[in-house]
């Protein structure tokens, strides 16, 4: 407790480029960019594979491999291979770890939509793209969001680890604190990371309520 008071109570920790607000912003920024890029790669691919049914095996293998990949090893290897110096190489492992859960859940979500529903949609005269966007996506949305949530959590965690190879963000307090035996700073950083992870979780819960149709989540006020 004292350590925490020491860390959060120090005025210097609240301003400047290594202050809490700046570090928090950095962390959120990296995570958001990595998540966004992962979505741009994984969602269209997952939609395509789920809709056409081609390449499903690849998705499942990729997902299993990604779960077995040690994050720290991947981060270190990629940055060593590509070179330090800029932030962008560090985004690569973040994206590599965020793509599989989005891809798998999008794919499973689309593929899992009942056959009858797909048939009915085509039978009504919707075109392929309309079937996908107006029927399959809304019905698969809970799973797609689950994939995004897992990816976001993964990204926030990996960004913390990536401070080890020079990425800014909240992980800096942990890594630098461990190096200089400044335990208050390490612990403070850890608490901030936990808080951020919880916020992300909360954010997704809110998002889920806002965008998933009550007809799909079966959550309706009256009756």
């Amino acid at each position: 407790m004292n350590w925490l008071i020491e860390f959060f109570g120090t005025a210097a920790n609240w301003s400047g480029p290594s202050g809490i607000p700046a570090r928090l912003l950095e962390h959120v920024e990296f995570s958001a960019v990595a998540l966004l890029l992962s979505m741009i790669i994984a969602i269209p691919l997952g939609l395509f594979i789920g809709h056409t049914g081609r390449g499903g095996v690849v998705v499942v293998v990729a997902a299993n491999a990604a779960r077995a990949l040690p994050t720290l090893g991947l981060v270190v290897l990629i940055v060593l291979l590509v070179g330090v110096g800029s932030t962008w190489p560090v985004l690569a492992p973040l994206i590599a770890l965020a793509v599989p859960p989005i891809l798998v859940n999008t794919y499973e979500g689309i593929r899992g939509v009942e056959r009858d529903l797909r048939d009915a949609a085509y039978g009504m005269g919707l075109r392929g793209g309309q079937v996908l966007l107006k029927v399959l996506v809304p019905v698969a949305l809970p799973l797609i969001l689950l994939g995004l949530r897992i990816a976001a959590i993964q990204v926030v965690a990996t960004a913390t680890v990536a401070a080890y190879v020079g990425l800014g963000g909240l992980g800096r307090y942990i890594i630098d604190g461990l190096a200089t035996k400044d335990f208050p700073s390490t612990l403070g950083g850890a608490v901030l990371v936990v808080a951020l992870a919880l916020l992300v979780q909360l954010g997704f819960a809110v998002l889920q309520r806002a965008v998933v149709s009550p007809g799909v989540s079966r959550r309706v006020k009256s009756r």
Binding site: A121, G123, M124, R218
Partner: protein
């Protein structure tokens, strides 16, 4: 009119689902495809709206080869109803019904107004419009499915076992509702079922298919019952064909005796002339005994026979559409009519104009094919 010309469907794995099928689906009438599971009914139906394309042969919709029409455009002009209703779970009922109007670019207000009108048409409480599909019972969902198929007023309706997943009581009421709607709208309907009783109840024409996608027989229900083409069709039709056939012979030709008296019994009436029972002759205040009535203008010979079998006198009481006493049919008259029915080959012209089995009065409703 929908015409199948030598249509064959072979799936990728070599299964021949439909084999050289040629038949005509007349405009404004209900044509039922019936047969055991896996005989190619669904495949045949889906070739009409191009959910599946035939391997050989062609299908004409009012003399146009359906393959010349872009599938989505074709489908927007053909209503489609499937077994589990296939409603979109993420959309409210009213928006589900308005699906095709939206696709056709109607403005939202008009499409919704149309949807509300249809909900009422298929016998649903308009208050359900704002609900989601999961909040409705199976029978209600199926009604919404029918409303959705009718939304853009398509001339053709394809129905694939639409009532198979609901319980027998609800199924019977959905069938009645469909007959009532069809009397109003006169759509060209192709209806698929594995239930022969449903086929006979709903079909103006019934096409019996056998496994392997062969057409075994196509005929109106009365002919089918009277003259099954082979043992397969006869077996599929099940028991009691003779009695069930009587449903398709009108009772209007029965000779009525206008008096209330028959040997041993007399018809008791209330002050409005409606029958209330049979009484033994000369027993003025004696107990009322059970009775049965039929309406010669609407009912079939089967209804008349049923009315006779219910009564201790063995005679059927005829009533007018208002339920007032119109006469009595004696056992001898019935005997003659039954003799004619079994003796003559069925006259197609007469049976085409048949009275439908009385609404709700079909004791076989829901009974599985034998």
């Amino acid at each position: 009119m929908i015409t199948f010309e030598g249509v064959t469907k072979r799936y990728g794995d070599g299964t021949v689902a439909v084999d050289n099928l040629s038949l005509q689906v007349p405009t404004g009438a209900v044509t039922v495809f019936v047969g055991p599971s896996g005989c190619g009914k669904t495949t045949s139906l889906r070739m009409i709206n191009r959910m599946i394309d035939p391997s050989e042969g062609r299908i004409l919709l009012d003399d146009r080869d359906v393959r010349a029409i872009d599938p989505p455009t074709l489908r927007r002009g053909i209503g489609y109803v499937i077994q589990q209703s296939g409603l979109f779970p993420h959309r409210k009922i009213v928006d589900n019904v308005a699906t095709v109007p939206y696709l056709l670019g109607w403005d939202k207000k008009k499409a919704r107004a149309r949807a509300m009108e249809l909900l009422e048409r298929v016998g649903l409480d308009p208050a359900l419009a704002g609900r989601y599909p999961f909040q409705l019972s199976g029978g209600q969902q199926q009604r919404v499915g029918v409303a959705r198929a009718l939304a853009a007023d398509p001339p053709v309706l394809l129905m694939d076992e639409p009532f198979s997943a609901v319980d027998p009581v609800v199924r019977a009421s959905l069938q009645e509702e469909l007959l009532r709607l069809q009397a109003e709208l006169q759509k060209t309907i192709v209806f698929v079922t594995h239930d022969i009783d449903e086929a006979i109840k709903l079909g103006d024409t019934v096409a019996v298919l056998r496994v392997g996608g062969h057409l075994a027989q196509i005929a109106d229900p009365a002919t089918l019952l009277a003259e099954p083409a082979d043992d397969f069709v006869a077996g599929f039709l099940g028991k009691d064909r003779g009695i069930r056939r009587l449903s398709f012979i009108p009772a209007s030709k029965l000779r009525l005796s206008t008096g209330r008296e028959v040997p041993g019994w007399s018809v008791a009436l209330d002050e409005d002339d409606r029958p209330i029972g049979w009484r033994a002759s000369g027993d003025g205040d004696g107990p009322l005994r059970p009775f049965g009535v039929f309406d010669p203008a609407q009912d079939s010979l089967r209804a008349a026979l049923d009315a006779a079998l219910l009564a201790p006198s063995g005679c059927a009481i005829a009533v007018d559409p208002g339920g007032r006493f119109a006469g009595v049919v004696t056992r001898e008259t019935l005997d003659e009519a039954l003799g004619r029915a079994s003796g003559e080959a069925l006259d197609p012209a007469r049976s085409a104009a048949h009275a439908r089995p009385a609404a709700g009065g079909d004791p076989d409703a829901g009974q599985a094919a034998g």
